[in-house]
């Protein structure tokens, strides 16, 4: 996005933020629910983007971490704990499990890693479903309360949308900070050239585990918001297809781009909604749209923009060179 002038970028950002705050005030409950869902999925996708897009570690388990977070929040809040405490537990739990899941990544990479995480996804689903004493099993957990934030009840759709949006804002800032920090640089080094990274003193083992753990923790945060959003959870939404969906969000949005997950979540959550007027055909059309998009730009939506900006840069550079060359020639 480096092609835009800085003030323009800031103005655009502020406009988007203002719109996200103000426009939904006129939305009905359905619109708010969908937008809240978008915010929650953006958080989960941002986590995966960190693991996959920045650190280059393929994970097909992000959905399982959303599940872990959701169950942590559901179990705790239905037992009277406040949501922030539940979110904290969700973070710690997903961080720890994500850390452990990172160990295979130290041994195997790429598609092999994808398969290990895929297997983990299925295992997590089985635990959610079978350990009824904890998770309510297939019946799930209902009547999940929505929190009171600073004494304000958020059980109405609009306030809870702001809870989701606020959480998204906090996570976005944290991720922005993280990827700009030396850690973010180390993650990218991991993705682009782990061998070289090692020789520069970068402890690739530790950063790999961290990439997994932090990405998973964000999945946990998303889950901890998902539970009070739907107010009822059962194991089915957290099966493998959620992990695949999140992967789709990251790839379609543009892996390794900061804004990729926002756009990817928009495509995955909102596009099917826009297509619903076609009734029975909507998922078919959605599938076709995703395929066409990927055929057009395998690097996702932001890949298109990136390519466009790169081309413009090259053009500008070659123009500069041409000018310099002509000057040189006139001097001679």
């Amino acid at each position: 996005m480096s092609g835009f002038a800085r003030p323009l970028k800031i103005a655009l950002g502020l406009a988007v933020i203002a719109a996200l705050i103000i426009v939904p005030m006129n939305f009905n409950r359905y619109g708010l629910f969908i937008l809240s869902q978008w915010a929650v999925m953006s958080i989960a996708a941002m986590g995966l983007n960190l693991t996959l897009g920045y650190a280059g570690q393929v994970s097909l388990a992000q959905g399982a971490f959303v599940g872990i977070g959701a169950y942590a929040a559901a179990i705790m809040t239905t037992h009277g704990w406040p949501l922030p405490a539940a979110i904290l537990v969700a973070i710690v739990l997903s961080f720890a499990i994500g850390w452990v899941l990172g160990y295979p990544a130290l041994r195997v990479q790429h598609h092999y890693l994808a398969f290990v995480t895929l297997a983990f996804s299925t295992l997590a689903f089985l635990v959610f479903r079978n350990e009824s004493w904890l998770t309510g099993g297939i019946y799930g957990i209902s009547n999940i309360p929505r929190p009171h934030i600073f004494g304000l009840a958020t059980n109405k759709p609009l306030p809870f949308y702001y809870v989701c949006l606020g959480s998204l804002a906090i996570v976005s800032l944290a991720v922005w900070w993280l990827i700009r920090s030396p850690w973010g640089r180390a993650f990218m080094a991991l993705r682009e050239n782990p061998l070289r990274a090692q020789s520069l003193g970068i402890d690739t083992r530790r950063y790999t585990l961290m990439a997994f753990a932090i990405g998973s923790a964000l999945g946990g945060v998303a889950g901890a918001l998902y539970a009070p959003l739907t107010q009822y959870i059962d194991p089915v939404p957290f099966n493998l297809s959620l992990s695949l969906d999140l992967l789709l969000m990251v790839i379609v949005g543009g892996a390794g781009f900061y804004f990729g997950p926002f756009l990817g979540a928009m495509i995955a959550v909102l596009l099917p909604e826009w297509l619903r007027f076609t009734e029975g055909y909507y998922l078919m059309l959605y599938a076709v749209a995703v395929m066409l998009l990927l055929i057009w730009s395998p690097t996702g939506i932001l890949g298109i923009l990136d390519r466009y900006l790169a081309e413009r840069r090259t053009k500008a550079a070659s123009a500069l060179r041409a000018v310099a060359k002509s000057r040189l020639e006139t001097v001679q």
């Binding site: 009905n28 359905y30 019946y139 089915v236 909604e273």
Partner: protein, 376 residues
């Protein structure tokens, strides 16, 4: 940001289009894709068939019925969103969903909006939470499973029972009630086997049943899996009598399992195979329109619409607020309203009461062994 604007615009358009004419608007949210697609599609087709019939005969109180269909993707989160959307458009009555989990997550929304919800879920607990707006279209498991347990204990004289169930909310719900009832009656559950939806290979499960050597086997799976386990039971030579529900002895299972289905028995609350002329006629109409034989979900959808019709005609006006009150305690007779197919009474909790049957498969045909009367 454009996206939210588009969503907004779209929503406006959607609410606007619903407003024309005198039609009575119903909203259906069902499992049209995902794991419950077969359930949801049957339900939807049943609804469409009923509405077509009613409108062809002049509608309800002279007004046409209209329904919008939304897909829950068999996911409670999506179901919630779609029900929310449907309620935002203020329908007369909400139909669906079919999965008990999705019903659980949406029922409070409908109740809050004060709109009656006629759904397909069968889990026992759904109507036990004091929700005044929720109605069943079939027996809840709390009414059907005791009958099954009683039959196993009294008629089959089974001291030991093996229970096989599909591990989703449908199977688990039935299993929990039946195990409790068997226990109460004094029959011992000697094998308690969960299976997966879509499972192809039942050798291990049947092996366990064989090893437990029970006096009877209770099978509670979806139709296709029922057919597979019936074949496997036969292959491994299990001779204990089999008892199940509609999903064990339906025409479709018989078709798929062939003679392996012979001898299986089942309690049939609602089935297109019921020995009732109106139901047979329904089945013919449905098969003609959609080219396949409906399962009980097709019936449920069909009945849901006729429940709306009968209740509205009873009130004499289209009144969304009074709908739930009127339906509570209402008895609809098939003689008055043929579309309801069998006499049915609705309790104060939204549960239904009607005749049911005990059926045995004899040489590839269903034979009614017993007619179980209404409870009240």
């Amino acid at each position: 940001m454009k996206s939210t604007l588009v969503v907004g615009a779209l929503l406006t358009v959607m609410t606007a289009t619903g407003a024309f004419g005198q039609a009575i608007k119903l909203a259906n949210v069902a499992e049209l894709s995902g794991g419950g697609a077969t359930v949801g599609t049957n339900w939807k087709n049943g609804i469409d068939l009923a509405i077509e019939e009613i409108n062809a005969k002049g509608g309800v109180l002279g007004r046409k019925l209209e329904v919008s269909h939304a897909d829950s993707q068999s996911n409670p989160g999506v179901a919630r969103a779609q029900v929310q959307k449907a309620l935002d458009a203020e329908p007369y009555v909400l139909l669906g969903p079919g999965y008990s989990g999705s019903v659980k997550v949406t029922a409070p929304l409908a109740a809050e909006a004060g709109i009656a919800q006629i759904m397909g879920g069968e889990a026992a607990e759904l109507t036990q939470t004091g929700n005044k707006f929720l109605f069943r279209t079939s027996f809840g498991q709390q009414s059907s499973m005791p009958k099954v347990a009683k039959y196993i204990h009294d008629e089959m004289k089974a001291k030991t029972v093996a229970v096989v169930w599909v591990n989703n909310d449908f199977g688990r719900g039935g299993r929990d009630v039946v195990v409790k009832e068997l226990d109460r009656l004094g029959s011992k559950v000697v094998a308690d086997l969960s299976t997966e939806a879509g499972q192809a290979d039942f050798a291990a499960d049947v092996g366990k049943i064989k090893a437990a050597n029970p006096d009877a086997v209770f099978v509670y799976l979806n139709e296709e899996e029922s057919a597979r386990i019936l074949k496997e039971l036969k292959r491994q030579g299990v001779t204990a009598p089999l008892m199940g529900e509609t999903t064990l002895i339906g025409q479709k299972v018989i078709e798929l399992a062939g003679d392996a289905a012979n001898g299986a028995r089942g309690h049939v609350g609602l089935t297109t195979d019921a020995p009732v002329d109106l139901i047979k006629a329904f089945r013919e109409k449905f098969s003609k329109k959609y080219n396949y034989v409906p399962d009980h979900n097709g019936l449920k959808g069909y009945l849901a619409v006729y429940m709306v019709k009968a209740t509205t005609e009873k009130m004499g006006k289209v009144d969304s607020k009074k709908f739930a009150d009127t339906l509570h305690g209402l008895t609809i007779k098939a003689a008055d309203e043929p579309g309801i197919l069998m006499d049915v009474t609705f309790s104060d909790t939204g549960d239904i009461d009607r005749q049911s049957f005990l059926v045995e498969v004899v040489e590839g045909k269903q034979v009614v062994k017993q007619v179980l009367p209404k409870v009240k």
